[in-house]
């Protein structure tokens, strides 16, 4: 069994294909993301962003192709923090119970202490005993991010993390992702168009019908990836 490690790892996708029935969600997609890079994935609805993130998180097995994590030794697996459209937390549990539950499952020593740290960091400490079903979308998203950060993962996969957030929550999210990027973690996030989140990226990639049609790091083409897809 692989040992999970928290240090940042790269992500290498080699000719990844994912088919649902006869529908291609990803077509022979190849991409190598270096450890510590912050990648913004963009593209229309149904272009394959979510599938790509789920394949990278190993939640979805690709139909063809290979996924590997450069920078890790044999027998090592990356600790991955994943935030999806759905908040991935239990409505019937309180904020604290949710974090303690996942911390215990991850085998984190002193789970209550780690949960308290993250509740403080996400500004949810005063609501720690409230069931998460009573939370607003922004508060749920904060809790979702806290859950993803429990293990201090070296790789973060964020699927449209800004969806449904108000200005204040969006500012918090942007500051949080900036801090995580500056700590050297590998971040891949899907975004819709240009936003405060896309500006954090050091690399931009665009998907169209499951294929990678643009991939650029810096320079004049960077902004155009978010605009029309030409790069």
């Amino acid at each position: 069994m692989s040992q999970r490690v928290s240090r940042p790892a790269g992500i290498k996708l080699t000719r990844i294909e994912k088919k649902y029935g006869s529908l291609y969600a990803l077509r022979r997609l190849g991409m190598e993301i270096a450890a510590g890079e912050c990648v913004a994935l963009t593209g229309r609805n149904g272009s394959g962003k979510t599938t790509l993130l789920r394949v990278a998180s190993q939640l979805t097995r690709p139909t063809r192709g290979e996924l590997s994590f450069p920078g890790l030794d044999n027998g090592e697996a990356p600790a991955i923090g994943y935030v999806s459209h759905a908040v991935m937390i239990y409505d019937e549990l309180t904020a604290e119970e949710n974090l303690v539950l996942f911390a215990r499952l991850l085998g984190i020593p002193r789970p209550a202490k780690r949960a308290a740290e993250l509740l403080e960091a996400t500004g949810l400490a005063t609501r720690k005993d409230s069931p998460s079903r009573t939370f607003s979308r922004g508060m749920k998203q904060r809790l979702a991010i806290a859950r993803a950060l429990l293990e201090e993962p070296g790789v973060l996969l964020l699927d449209e993390p800004g969806t449904g957030l108000d200005t204040e929550s969006m500012a918090w999210l942007t500051a949080t992702i900036r801090a995580l990027r500056d700590q050297g973690r590998t971040i891949v996030m899907s975004v819709h168009g240009e936003s405060s989140l896309s500006q954090l990226a050091t690399r931009a990639a665009r998907l169209e019908a499951g294929a990678l049609i643009a991939d650029t790091r810096t320079g004049a083409t960077f902004q155009s990836v978010f605009a029309t897809g030409a790069a």
Binding site: S2, S57, I89, L101, F102, L105, G107
Partner: protein, 224 residues
């Protein structure tokens, strides 16, 4: 060891959620109560008839209520995609199944033992004198129902007609649990109330086979 510690953590979560909401226990108890009372009023059985047909009726009611109870097992994990969060956090997905089937067995057993007393009153059958033996039979039957029900709940939660699929798959598959459970229960209502090990052996074999299959192939049931 990680398998058992993760199972314990998840089982605690399942029990905590249910004892807070009482949704499953209430629904299943009310369903079984209705069946027991309706059959009692409709057929007005004598004590001898009750001992003859009661166990079959009881296990049929348990089976139908179990299909109600198992339905949300994995379906509720889809609401917020918490199943993905569990899969990311746990290295051995069998822990998810083990926790859910333990929780389902406990819920089913609680409901059965509570409703057994009501059955005793309405059908004029002495259940208290054989209560420990009945509890043993109920445990083996419930384990079989829960193992199969939990696995099928994982399958049906990903299907399109998920609300009707589980009973359609579950009920025929549980015939090998229904018959030995009803027969073993019926034997306990006889004057010498023997434990019928031939029927219990079938139940144990069913439990072992399905638990092993779940351990070996459960991971594939959670894949997208």
């Amino acid at each position: 060891m990680r398998l058992f510690s993760n199972t314990a953590v998840l089982l605690q979560k399942e029990l905590q959620a249910e004892f807070r909401s009482h949704e499953l226990l209430t629904t299943a108890s009310v369903f079984i109560l209705i069946v027991i009372v309706l059959f009692s009023f409709t057929f007005d059985p004598t004590s001898a008839e009750s001992k003859q047909f009661g166990p079959g009726l009881l296990w049929l009611a348990f089976l139908f209520s179990a299909s109600l109870m198992m339905q949300p097992s994995f379906l509720k994990e889809r609401t917020n995609d918490t199943l993905s969060a569990l899969r990311l956090a746990i290295s051995d997905p069998f822990a998810i199944f083990l926790a859910k089937l333990c929780a389902n067995t406990i819920f089913l057993l609680i409901t059965q033992l509570l409703l057994l007393l009501v059955f005793g009153v309405f059908y004029n059958v002495a259940v208290l004198s054989v209560f420990p033996q009945l509890a043993f039979v109920f445990f083996l039957g419930s384990l079989g129902i829960s193992t199969t029900g939990t696995a099928l709940s994982a399958i049906s939660s990903q299907a399109r007609m998920r609300e009707v699929l589980l009973p359609l798959l579950l009920l025929p598959l549980l015939v090998p649990v229904l018959i030995p459970s009803a027969e073993a229960t019926k034997a306990l209502f006889e004057p010498e109330h023997p434990l019928r090990w031939d029927w219990l052996g079938m139940l144990i074999a069913f439990d072992v086979v399905f638990l092993t299959a779940l351990w070996l192939f459960g991971e594939y049931l959670l894949e997208e």
